[in-house]
Symmetry: C2
Subunit: 341 residues, 2 copies
DNA sequence: TTGAAAGCGCTACCAG
DNA sequence: CTGGTAGCGCTTTCAA
């Protein structure tokens, strides 16, 4: 325990130096009335000299308010989440809130641990993205009993909790239509676990597009395993080794797009001539490959901004459950061909 | 603020329910002696029923210890820093410390703001990576006066502050030798601002390798502007447009490697036939390009682990300034050719 | 075995 | 205009 950490100066210390009472110091430093200008100036000077800083923990105790919110992400080292966290942190700080950022490791148990930790820290609200394993939500119900406001983003469930997500159905549909209109007929779908609503929605958009264009659905082209590199790699290889392989892939997650791309490259197939590909990812990753990948660009800024906004409103007593859907945009690059029939 | 946030239950509440004194509750919940087994059991039961959680802020006040450390990174959305933060956070939590993670935006003013914020929060120690703009260190000196332990990582200065960095000289030298031994003779160097010790070190290793192999130094091949995409792109294009362009590039930062790669692609040059390239970056990014990039793999885990370890020791009274150098490893891929002369 | 009270830093209320 | 003091949640020391 910080044997040599100098004890921080408190109002009491300042009072002692000037031979006055703490309450006067408090009033002076908070700009309240009832202090003579001369004395006030003295106090402020000494406080500054001594590098006085109010103790936020004392404040918390006094007002029973921690001015702290918690964030839970599946993997903070994933650039998508890092960006969102950064955004939320900036907004929160502007409103005087501190963030405790936690990482569930994309597991359900990790998620439960994070919640436990945040409850222990007495956060006033939580913004979280579910792990890909999370199949039931009793741990979220518990939160409701302690009346801690909660907002889910990106990956959500169907309960009555406020959410901020991408327009998953619409953007998957748009991406699929784009592939079809580029000439693709056998389009594979790569997604996360089926229990995720996000997977369900994106698959829904994909199927809708196929139906719209009158293309038969082939279940063997739909791969929904785990959201990780190895899973995406083996699924894609399996697809490419089919007797009648797909002529396009819709990879509905950054890590799946990356692994699909690498699988294709390893098979020496040409993109988009042999196979087209669209991924859900960020611009700079899309720009790394050759050819560059057509991608669904999620509006990270808006997701973060709205997540905090909704939480903030809830913390201020707004009981309404809000569901905000942020528009993603399809960005065309060279990995999808446009064939004018 | 949180109009409907249920007041959390305190020891006092438990005491009131059982009609006993707070001090007894405290002893019972902390497993101290002096409580009858029966009563203790009662207390524990009620505490659990009421979902009691100790108030960490009260503890902080009581012991004048916040069990909190601060982290400052230039850009948390950069995967390199996100990984390190994640690592530090995990270690810190294991030792019962909370992390306040801040982002300087890679600017000096942002850095000063972060420090201010962390001091306000009464953190017990700080782990930081300097911004690329930071040219003098008076703001760090101030910390020393408040006796807040500080550890720098990745980007450091020459003062007597503990540091954890990569073996920049050696790894840049190794990468350069690798290029030379692959047949390159005109090797360009892409680096950050010259005021950064990291740039200095990596350039040093580069020059050392050239000297060792008796290759003349061409100052026009050395580009040290800002660490950002556009800067790397324009520098590389300038290099490629030289009358006698380089036959290899050493990009000493992830963002510079990415921009250099894209500049090369845009000029339709072949890698490694027309030009070879080595970058400092992470595996998964290296694997995105075709051909994959040979890269210097920094040991992110070790950097994070050591940063916390050193800070922890300092917080426990170890006054020694420590400088830890973590070994990076050259990973050969297809972007560098090996020519057996 | 249990209770009472002080004190951590701060603010708010009431006295002088 | 300034001082004194209670109380936020908790531990600790002393007293019963």
């Amino acid at each position: 325990m910080s044997k040599k950490l100098k004890k921080r100066v408190s109002q009491r210390d300042i009072a002692k130096i000037l031979g006055i009472n703490v309450s006067t110091v408090s009033r002076a430093l908070n700009g309240l009335e009832g202090v003579s200008p001369a004395l006030r100036e003295e106090i402020v000077r000494v406080a500054s000299d001594q590098n006085y800083r109010p103790n936020p923990f004392a404040m918390s105790l006094r007002y029973d308010t921690t001015r702290t919110i918690g964030i839970i992400v599946p993997d903070m080292s994933f650039s998508y989440y890092a960006h969102i966290v950064k955004r939320i942190e900036a907004d929160a700080r502007e409103y005087g809130f501190m963030c405790i950022i936690t990482d569930s490791g994309d597991t359900k148990n990790g998620e439960i641990d994070c919640l436990e930790h945040l409850e222990n820290m007495h956060v006033e609200g939580i913004i979280m993205c579910l792990s890909q394993e999370t199949d039931e939500f009793s741990h979220l119900e518990r939160l409701k009993n302690s009346h801690i406001p909660l907002v889910l983003f990106d990956r959500v469930n169907d309960n009555d909790i406020s959410t901020v997500i991408n327009n998953d159905v619409a953007s998957a549909r748009e991406a699929t239509l784009h592939l079809i209109d580029g000439g693709a007929r056998r389009i594979a779908f790569l997604g996360g676990p089926n229990l995720m609503k996000q997977t369900y929605d994106r698959k829904h958009g994909y199927l809708e597009a196929l139906r719209e264009r009158g293309i038969a659905i082939d279940k063997d082209l739909v791969k929904c395993q785990s959201l990780n590199f190895n899973s995406g790699l083996s699924d894609t290889l399996e697809l490419l080794n089919m007797p009648e392989p797909p002529d396009a892939i819709l990879a509905t997650h950054g890590i799946l797009a990356i692994s699909a791309y690498q699988a294709i490259i390893s098979k020496k197939l040409r993109i988009p001539d042999d196979i087209a590909i669209v991924g859900f990812m960020s611009d700079w990753v899309s720009g790394m490959t050759s050819p560059r990948l057509t991608f669904v660009k999620q509006n990270i800024k808006e997701i973060g901004r709205n997540a905090f906004k909704v939480l903030y409103e809830q913390m201020n007593g707004n009981d309404n459950v809000q569901h905000i859907i942020v528009k993603a945009r399809l960005e065309e690059r060279e990995s999808t061909k446009k064939i004018y029939l």
